[in-house]
Structure formats: C-alpha cells, structure tokens
C-alpha cells in the first residue's frame, strides 16, 4: 500500500511537470491571454521543478533504491498520460 501511495504521489507530480513542459512548446500553448504572457523558459523551469519534486518524494517515501527506480518508471507513465491528454483534447 505504501508503494501504491507513493506511486500516486509521484505520478501526479510528474504529470503536472510534463504538462508544464509540454505547454512551454508553441504548439501546445493554451490560447488564453494570461498563458501567452508566461515566458516558455519559466514554464520549463516549473516543469523541471515538479519533476525534481517527484524524485524527492519518491526517494523520501521509498528509499534510494526503490525510490529512484519508481521515479524512472513513473516518469514514463506521467509523460505518457500527458501525451494522451494532448492527443485527445480538442484542438
């Protein structure tokens, strides 16, 4: 159960991180006025921050060995979910 809980936390954080990274690309910028004002580098910075936060959470909850392994595998799942969302969202 502890493993599942940490997976959910890490997945949520990597999902947010990758969504921010994706939004930094011109193709995926949301067509809103406020979003246009945020410079892409800041989105990338925050995206990277969330990914690092996910790693920190994984290491904290699962230890160095299992934590880093969980992070690497979950990053793929998080990024996959982002790409699925971008593919299915109406554009």
């Amino acid at each position: 159960m502890a493993g599942l809980a940490s997976f959910i936390v890490v997945l949520a954080l990597t999902y947010v991180g990758f969504l921010l990274l994706a939004r930094s690309q011109a193709k995926y910028r949301p067509p809103t006025v406020w979003a246009a004002r945020i410079p892409p580098y800041r989105l990338r910075l925050f995206g990277g921050f969330f990914l690092a936060l996910a790693l920190a959470a994984a290491l904290q909850m699962q230890g160095v060995g299992f934590g880093s392994l969980l992070w690497v595998l979950t990053v793929a799942a998080g990024a996959g979910m982002v790409s699925l969302r971008l593919a299915t969202s109406a554009r």
Binding site: G3, F7, F18, G65, V72, A76, V82, S83, A87
Partner: protein, 518 residues
Amino acid sequence: MAAPAQPDEPGGVRLALNWLHTWFGLLSCLLLLVIFWTGTLAVFDWEIDRWMKPATRFTAPTEMSIDAFRPVAEASAPGAEFWQVQFATDRAPAEFYAQLNDGAHFYRTIGPDGLTLLPDQGTYGGTQFFYPYHFTLNIGFANIGLILCAFAGIMMMVLCVSGVIIHRRIFADFFTFRKSQKSQRSVLDLHNLTGVLALPFHFVISLSGVALFSAMYLPTAQEAVFASDPTAFDQNYFSRPAAGEAGQNSASLDVMAEEAARRWDGVWPGHLRIYYPGDANSYVEARWPLHGSLAARYHSIWFDAATGDVIAAPQPSAASAGYAVLWGLHVVQFDHLTIRWLYFLSGLAGCVLIATGLLFWSQSRRKRHAKTGKKGAEIVAVIAIGGTTGLILATLAFLISNRLLPLDMEGRATLETWCFHAVWLAAFAHAGVRRGAAWREQWIAIAIGGVVAVALNAVTTGDAIPVAIARGQWGVAGIDIMLLLGSFLAIAAAWRMRSSQVRTREGHAKKFLPAEKS
C-alpha cells in the same frame, strides 16, 4: 525521413544509422517480440504458476521445519545429487526441487502442512515455461537459445541508441501522439512515443539481461583474467566432491537455517540446499533470499552436514554491489508490487515499440512493393500479425489447454507447450492466408480466448474472480481480471479495424493508403 538503400548514400551519419536501425531492427524484431512478451509475462511467473497449478492455490505458512520434512525429501528423491527447499514467500508456497543422479529434475510444491509433496501438476507453468523462454527460447541445444537472446539484447541497445540519434526532436516526441486518420502516422507516433518514454527501461533491461550471463558469453576474456589463478573464479562459491561412502548427516537443518538468519541480522534464507545427502562429504548451502532488496545478491553460507559447523561464509564485497543492483533490476524478485506492475506495463510498452516498428516498416513499403512486385512488405506484415496477435493467441492456448487436459495424463506438460507452438504456427498460417483481414479475426479470437480461459478457470477450479479474492488468491484473480481486460481491449481493436475497413469501402480509400514518403 526514409531509410536509404545503403548506409553509404550521401546524407551523413543520421541516414547511415537510419539504415542500421531499419534493417537490423527488421532482422531481430520477431526474436525481440518473443523475448519482450515472455519477459513481461515472467514478471508474474509465480502468479501464473498458481493459475496453472490449482492445487497450489493456498496461503502457505512461511515457517516450516526442514528436519521434519527431510524424510519426505529423501524418500521422494533417493540418491539425489542435491535437493533443496525453497521457503514460502508472499508470492508462492514452499517448493521442493531435486537434481537426480541421471541429471533429471524433480519439482514439487510442498503442501500447507510442510510435510507432504503435492502431486505433479502436469505443467511447466510460468516459472518453467515463460521464464526460461525469455532467455533461452527453451532451446537447450548447444546454448543456441541463450546466444540468440544475448544477440537480441545487444540489438535492442543498438536500436535504442541509433533510434535516439536518428531522431531530431526527442523532446517534442514526449508529447507527440497524433490520433491521425492515417494509421501509418499513428503507428510511427506510437513507435516514437513508447521508444522515448520507456527508453531508460528498455536500455537498462537489455543491458542487464545480457550482463546476467556475461561470464558465459565472454569465455576468452575470462581465460585472460584468470590465467594464473583459474580456481579464483569460484571465490564466492564453495563446493567439494562427494566422498563416495556413507556418512552421518545428523546435524539439524533447522539450526543451520537459524544460524544463517542470525548471521544475516534476522533475514531468513531463501532456500536450503543439501548436497550429496547421506554421503560423508555432504554439505548444506543456505542462500540469501532475493525478495528482500533491490540488489540480487547470490550469496550463501555453507555448513557441514555431519557436524552443522560453518564451512564457509564469504562476505559480499563492496564491489559486488556494482553488479548485484544491475541483476536485481532485471530479475525483479524483490517484494514491491507497484514496481512489479510498472515493469509489466513497461514490458508491454516494449512490445508495442517493437510491433509498431515492424508495422511501420511494412506499411511504408506496401504501395511501393505492390507496384514493383516485391514480396517484402507482405511477408513482414504476416510476421507482424504472427508475432503480436499470434503470440497472444498462443499464450491463451497454453492457458486454455492447461484447464482442459486431464491432470493424470501422460506427458501433459509437454502437450501444453505443443498447444502453444501449434496455435502460434497456425496464427502465422492464418495471417499468410487472410492477410489484412487476419488482424481483425485474430483480435476477435483473442477476445473469445480470454473469456474462455477465465470461464474455464471458474468452472474447473471454482475460483471465479470474487471467490478467488475472498480466498485471498489475488494472483489468480489478477490474472483473470487481466484476461478479461485484454478481451475487452481486443474487442475494441477489432471494432476499430472494422470501422476503418467500412470507411475504406465507402470510398475514402485514399486516406488509409500509406504515404509513399514520410
């Protein structure tokens, strides 16, 4: 960017590596599909064992007395070279294994009382079929299977690296999946997406897979390194020959297990193995369990069977962590259900990666080959069908035959493997005859097969999904649930293919024909 006809064509390194990726990918794709699929199944090999051996579906107590069990062992495997008891874990009950004098193996599950052997379950199951298939293809002759699998592992790494180099926009690919009407576009997107997302997994799993058998694959290097000290290769592994005369093996095996656990700060051994039982030189090995930690340390304590004294207890060196972790990452024997599932999903992503690569090769050449009369694209399309849906069908046939064949049948385990291979071959033949229509028909067959397997499990063993859950048999229930989920997805795939065929007939044919160039 299409692959060039030869790596020497002008266009630079990227095009040359594209040639490598295209043709070596094609060369090894079927092998890689088989290895990835069986490896993905082997992640849950003990659970598959429970499914295929209904008599072993019980929650075993972790503690058992080997001294009490010893007469049973010696009666059922007399004159064995060695016998061992693998202690029960969360995933499996205790197992008995003996290597007989004529080289034959003897496997049985130990009953819940810890004093009886269950009758032969007549199946190789997950641990003796899918698991060895993953690294030997179950071809024992001259280690051909092992060598082919190592080559496939190297190829996987080569394909990973060349795939990354020939890609210009690796970052953008993280988010590029276009649900295009053009299936070729979607196939390539899916290939890139699974390749990029699971790249660390694919690379490390291939490297560690080859690394596990390094010593076997590098005999000349081993000779060079151990030239002046040949016996040092067994530094961490004690052995001595049998004396040939009978001796007293009176020391308590339970005390040895306890002594090992005491030296390992309370970690109970994974198994206890008794070499040359009854011989004057008999000795006992207590092996460190693999399910406790990420690193897979193959490390033991040896006892004299007559006196119970410790003969050897080598300390694992700090350097051994350098490979124990790499091995542990591959064999996933540690208790971590979440990571086990993520391995399963990553393995499936690998199957998708290989299958989409194969599909793309065929789709992007179909029109051109049809024009010039070449057969390549059609043959590869047949391989793609047989290697994906055909392989899934063969797996289902393996499970279904397991529930249908009578338990007391002679040669039952072998017959199951014949069912697997016969259905697999039939799937290739079907794909060769029916061509494009074979996809849809095989997805439908998979959907039916999955439901049939679940139904047969419920009827023949009484473990319908709710019953299995109520009994705490989560492994069995999990496999049933995955089979039903697979059936559902297969129906969805068949439905999609039907609708695309209908649209093609309605005159939008151009949309679905592959583009000549990407």
